[in-house]
Assembly symmetry: D4
Amino acid sequence: MTLQQVLEEVQKGTISVQDAEQLLRENSYEEMGYAKLDTSRKERTGFAEVIYCSNKADEHLLKIFDRLYREDGEVLGTRASEKQYELVKASFPQVKYDPVSRILKIEAPGKERVGKIAVCTAGTADIPVAEEAAQTAEFFGTAVDRIYDVGVSGMHRLFSRLDTIQEANCVVAVAGMEGALASVLGGLVSRPVIAVPTSVGYGANFHGLSALLTMVNSCANGIAVVNIDNGYGAGYLATQINRLALGK
Amino acid sequence: MTLQQVLEEVQKGTISVQDAEQLLRENSYEEMGYAKLDTSRKERTGFAEVIYCSNKADEHLLKIFDRLYREDGEVLGTRASEKQYELVKASFPQVKYDPVSRILKIEAPGKERVGKIAVCTAGTADIPVAEEAAQTAEFFGTAVDRIYDVGVSGMHRLFSRLDTIQEANCVVAVAGMEGALASVLGGLVSRPVIAVPTSVGYGANFHGLSALLTMVNSCANGIAVVNIDNGYGAGYLATQINRLALGK
Amino acid sequence: MTLQQVLEEVQKGTISVQDAEQLLRENSYEEMGYAKLDTSRKERTGFAEVIYCSNKADEHLLKIFDRLYREDGEVLGTRASEKQYELVKASFPQVKYDPVSRILKIEAPGKERVGKIAVCTAGTADIPVAEEAAQTAEFFGTAVDRIYDVGVSGMHRLFSRLDTIQEANCVVAVAGMEGALASVLGGLVSRPVIAVPTSVGYGANFHGLSALLTMVNSCANGIAVVNIDNGYGAGYLATQINRLALGK
Amino acid sequence: MTLQQVLEEVQKGTISVQDAEQLLRENSYEEMGYAKLDTSRKERTGFAEVIYCSNKADEHLLKIFDRLYREDGEVLGTRASEKQYELVKASFPQVKYDPVSRILKIEAPGKERVGKIAVCTAGTADIPVAEEAAQTAEFFGTAVDRIYDVGVSGMHRLFSRLDTIQEANCVVAVAGMEGALASVLGGLVSRPVIAVPTSVGYGANFHGLSALLTMVNSCANGIAVVNIDNGYGAGYLATQINRLALGK
Amino acid sequence: MTLQQVLEEVQKGTISVQDAEQLLRENSYEEMGYAKLDTSRKERTGFAEVIYCSNKADEHLLKIFDRLYREDGEVLGTRASEKQYELVKASFPQVKYDPVSRILKIEAPGKERVGKIAVCTAGTADIPVAEEAAQTAEFFGTAVDRIYDVGVSGMHRLFSRLDTIQEANCVVAVAGMEGALASVLGGLVSRPVIAVPTSVGYGANFHGLSALLTMVNSCANGIAVVNIDNGYGAGYLATQINRLALGK
Amino acid sequence: MTLQQVLEEVQKGTISVQDAEQLLRENSYEEMGYAKLDTSRKERTGFAEVIYCSNKADEHLLKIFDRLYREDGEVLGTRASEKQYELVKASFPQVKYDPVSRILKIEAPGKERVGKIAVCTAGTADIPVAEEAAQTAEFFGTAVDRIYDVGVSGMHRLFSRLDTIQEANCVVAVAGMEGALASVLGGLVSRPVIAVPTSVGYGANFHGLSALLTMVNSCANGIAVVNIDNGYGAGYLATQINRLALGK
Amino acid sequence: MTLQQVLEEVQKGTISVQDAEQLLRENSYEEMGYAKLDTSRKERTGFAEVIYCSNKADEHLLKIFDRLYREDGEVLGTRASEKQYELVKASFPQVKYDPVSRILKIEAPGKERVGKIAVCTAGTADIPVAEEAAQTAEFFGTAVDRIYDVGVSGMHRLFSRLDTIQEANCVVAVAGMEGALASVLGGLVSRPVIAVPTSVGYGANFHGLSALLTMVNSCANGIAVVNIDNGYGAGYLATQINRLALGK
Amino acid sequence: MTLQQVLEEVQKGTISVQDAEQLLRENSYEEMGYAKLDTSRKERTGFAEVIYCSNKADEHLLKIFDRLYREDGEVLGTRASEKQYELVKASFPQVKYDPVSRILKIEAPGKERVGKIAVCTAGTADIPVAEEAAQTAEFFGTAVDRIYDVGVSGMHRLFSRLDTIQEANCVVAVAGMEGALASVLGGLVSRPVIAVPTSVGYGANFHGLSALLTMVNSCANGIAVVNIDNGYGAGYLATQINRLALGK
């Protein structure tokens, strides 16, 4: 019930003041003891709740998975291990697992993917993060073009795919080491660029800090940055932008 | 001319190989000796070139201002000082200066502002950065709602304006100190949130690093971050998103 | 009006649904255009709003000062400059200014100071921060013992005042350089110690970072840390603890 | 014996100067060769000594456990491993172990828990640190309300429990990632908030540094911070504050 | 084909506009699905593509190795594990592996090594990085003098080899801990010094950051720095300089 | 005298043991009380000593200038102020000063500039550092091509000048903000690239640290980095490489 | 009176218990309101108290100066400004000021300087810190050899003075930029080396952090480090070591 | 041969110029291929070479151990593993290993330990580092008093041992967490304090950085700092100071 609806029920007398107070306070989440599932999230934000699997206890993972599956008929889990895949598969044989992106999911059949985003990587080592972004966006209904291994040390590879990139509603630039790809893309496209620094590299890259600083300081316009290795966040945000472009 | 057009002219023989080579190499910028004005930028990205005034030599500032004004009939300058305002005003009496945002501009008359973005600040000290974002977006044709001083130490102020914020195509969250506003907004809206850390604060905020890290690590979804105090970048990106939402 | 009261009025019909919605959203702050004064703060937290004067525009400072003075009959301003003192004094001749703590205030006459906190410094250079803490606490009704210049390079000075310190309900430990005073106090008293790192020092103290890390890593128990140079925050928190000890 | 008592015995001649000197120097700890047990700590601070189990040699752990058990009839150990639990259990079958908080303890029967503190977490991954805080406080006689998984990405979950939180004498806010929970709580309650940054997160959280900086820079009042993941320190400090509120 | 050649073919009509466009865009790399092999690199830069083996999937490593071997008749792989050596050896029995430098390679027979560079280390622990530099340079045809364990704590060891070092076209200085070797060499030779900080050390060396800062801040002239532990990069750059000295 | 020469004189008896000892110890520098001029440097390294003017006392600057002028008939001073220019000009009217690069010099007439290096900048704000590099190289006899304002936000500007850049013996890449220019150049040329991070930028560039990390972590080969804003060091190193290419 | 003496007086009855308690608590410092002069320091540590003049209020500086002068007949002030010199000179015409080291002092006549320490600098810009060290040591009675401008970019300058350095009881190595001098000295002498990093340099030296890390990570033995620019601390410690060597 | 001796032989004609040159260049170290043993070190510095065992290859460790044993009849190895102990023991059954300090040694029989240093730790977890310091000093002939577990959270433990500490020629202060012990000791003794930060702690101690900064910034005098966990370096330096005090 919305705030307006609750107030109307109070006015009509169908809900007591005490009940209304309770409703306005305890709205829209399900208490599971160890966690509070945010079941109103889809209504509030247009996105169902997602499971960050890393370090979840087996029992908790299963219960939350089950709960969300019953709610929506589909579930997206990120940062899942092979072992967690085996665990969930025992109860949900239809679950799919991709060891590259570490995404574990049951996807509703016949889901349409619309609009267009481009997910680019500088090197091959950035692909796991890029796939997390791409598959997250696809799960939320976005059509994705993948343009991988187009880093600045061999720029002609990027230019040969530029048409595709320029047609996207949003570009996700995934890069580690010095992270220059985001700036280069920012100078070449007219749509928003979401930069994802990765922890790929060695030496003074300090687990992605170098790429993060590069991207935050970009001299190009139309770039914003998410956390290091946060493919999920980039896929989510790209979907929001793609939906806007589709008038949704 | 596009690549295809140049090639067609070569095929037709209307352009020599040498001229084509020249064209393909020297396309679309104006050499000014000390600078290369990127005059094809508007066509390429949909945004005219903007002047970052800080530390520009007087003579250079004037020349670039003049050059861009002749090109577009309007100019946007950021980080301008009072002294630079006086300088430009002597040649362009119609120039406007806002000492809060430090924006110096001549805006084409009758420009329409369309769509809707919301620019929010945590405190009053964040307003200069917010105004840079808001006025940049307005210059590029975006309608802006300002919701200032709604930081997390008094959350009821934010909630009273939530309807307005939720209607925007894009939310710009400007905050210094601990920068928690971005996370709070990310949990409350379904549209992209562009987080702008500011250098407002003291002690361990380390000139905005604290707010930057907070925002990059946000537990909420749909948030991306621009550089510390980079109101211009946020206004630019918000405009890109707003345009997408308008089908432009 | 509390939530319960509003709901009762709706039930009675004395308030319409629209008005109730408005009330529940727009409660308890005063819109001043550039700022939203949090006038319900005293009721919510037991502390009136305080003015952080640093970098406030003259006109804004005066208006906020005036507004708070009319509300409470007293005002506390922190980080005020001499110039701001002159400005406020022109309108409020009774205003007091302390150049050491940079506190600017009008205090209600006959205010009682109760309980007891101890404010300690390691050196004389830490006194400005300590005075901000002490005078903040006094403004909020707390009795304060000052024990200054008792740093660890001459520990006998501290021991001679230990009785006084051990009687306090809360100890504020203000120290720059290596900040060891907080750990030493934590090992000697049974009451909470609020540690305030200061930016006093040179070389590798990095504007207080060294003292902050020292205090956060303290091997002693019962210590918590506020921001570098944040005397106000320490005085506020010490007052909260002192009030609890007094059953308030 | 206090200093005064020793001096009186010297005056009376019942203690020689040599013995007095010895007494004033060697007071109140037990030399165990590898460690000096601080057996006067309970008297001095109101809290018995606690064992930080991590990396303790088996033999040392057992001896110190035994020594403290004989002293007080109860023992609190933190950061204990399963293996250490097995080790201690062989000698003390009544010992209890909680694998979540990693607390290993023998608690005196019939201990009363009084007053009230609230321990809140932003997410479920913060629970181990929160339980260390809660169980430490309980061991020292404090009644604890647990409010878990109320982070800022779904604020309504927090608001539904606000009454409980506002009744506590002290609030412990446990959060990783961007750590915004502490600021939000600081704006909503009138009692001290102890902020505990956790190392939960990834990317640019740098093992808790991000949350630590967020909390130290909080724009809300009445907040102080302990070390990253330091649940024990927060539980200890909350107990000190709770005791003050109870007039103890 | 160069740009000029393509344009001439267009003019002659032997290549259609569409084909020319395609050629100008898709020049010179081989799409392998997961990677884009930069097969034009040798022509562009004078160096064949090299495989960074670390974390490459077995299948990808083998395919790329095979591809490059067919292209050039030799392959250089860096940061290879023993396990990767076994893998590649099964298909390419002639492959060589050096466990110190972790270089895996097939080298064309009868390759001449010309010119002269000197690779120096401060200690024995820096040798793995130095060998990566030396063997990279040798693979690219450079003659290398190795001068190891000549750090500043026993400077006479360095002086006894100074003649050799001064004769080199380029000096590679490999050092961890405080990295002073680069500055000392910079003051003694007239040729470029490439400084390679290593992660060798403990405590406050922070995985090579200390040596990196030392080398970047060197008071000596003619020094430039590559990434921490980046022996490959130093060997590559030294080869470029050596080739210049040989008029290549 | 070389070591060999001194020893021969001793053998011949023309120099006593004591004098030889003195000579071998006190060789080749001139004691000026406050400084030891390294007058053998030119012989040892091929470069005369240069004056770092910043913060030099007037009297010292003049004396060192005079001493070096008498030695070589020319002097190069870096980081000189306008005031220092006036000072030196009073004694040496022929001195030249460039306020952009802050270089103060007397250059021997008729000096030839040979070979070729390219000095590139990302933006116009990087020009002062680039000019320090270019003019240093020119002073040491190197011919320089300047290619300014070719940063990655408008890459076509760079491509139009690529031929010139690819012909240089060494490329100096000067860039602030995110410093991506160095990586882009590294992927396009076959000669060494010396990367100079500049402190140009704002927010999270942290006075050049961002660009430094970007450049050190470059994914392209053949790049080495000098200190932030160290144009002099880059010009010096480029000259060393240029000389090698000329067989000097 | 020592502890033993006080106790004996109590036993004899010549001091009451109350007085003894007072004595044991309030020993040996003089309360000045804003500061507690540590007048027992000379007895406790062998060094009189010294004034850190930086930022001292005029009135406080004068009073402390006067107080210490009356106590010892001589005073040492560090980090004094010209203005503070003028202030003190008005009352103490015999005061001496050195603008290089910024030391302000009255030294007792006929003081003997004994033993031997060597104070070395890498460059001329490090001399102010070196002079603070040297003059501090001299004030405390140590004979000092100054060996300046012997940094590693021209090592022969250092070797020519090595005999002098090797004869010292303690060597103070003062260096900014990359701070390699300390390591070089550590490898050449058998006596303790006190390393003083200075903030001299630019770019990535980060106000002395680079030199500090270099020195802390030194591969040579017998080196310990004081704070950045802390010449006073080095002179003090060198004096302690020199005294030990003299059997004092 | 000293420089003077070589020159005299040249004068006499007993050594040719070529041989003298060779001697002056190749003096005093033994080339082992992978390492250059610094066999003149004992003569130069008064300390034999020591083996840093960590990560040494088995074969190298054994050869160096053997070489040093033949030279001196005793060997000191630091940071040795249990496995390395087993390895060395097979060849040298008389070798001793201490698993706490990880020191592996053969000590010459009947070595006298003279003078006095005090090694103090803040907690029991700092003992491994302290033992490395103490046993290093003992190996080099220094008598050591160990005073462990006297950190600032229970200061009375320290005071009861103060007499012993004050009698030492040098105090080594070993502390992790916040490292305040060094400052406290610096204020209580008149002899040099060598501070050793340890990596003991958790959260924001950042592997010892917190303790390092604390110690470097100490407000007490007579303190210098070695690297994090560098017990060996502290024991070495303390021995140098102790020898000076004994007139050696």
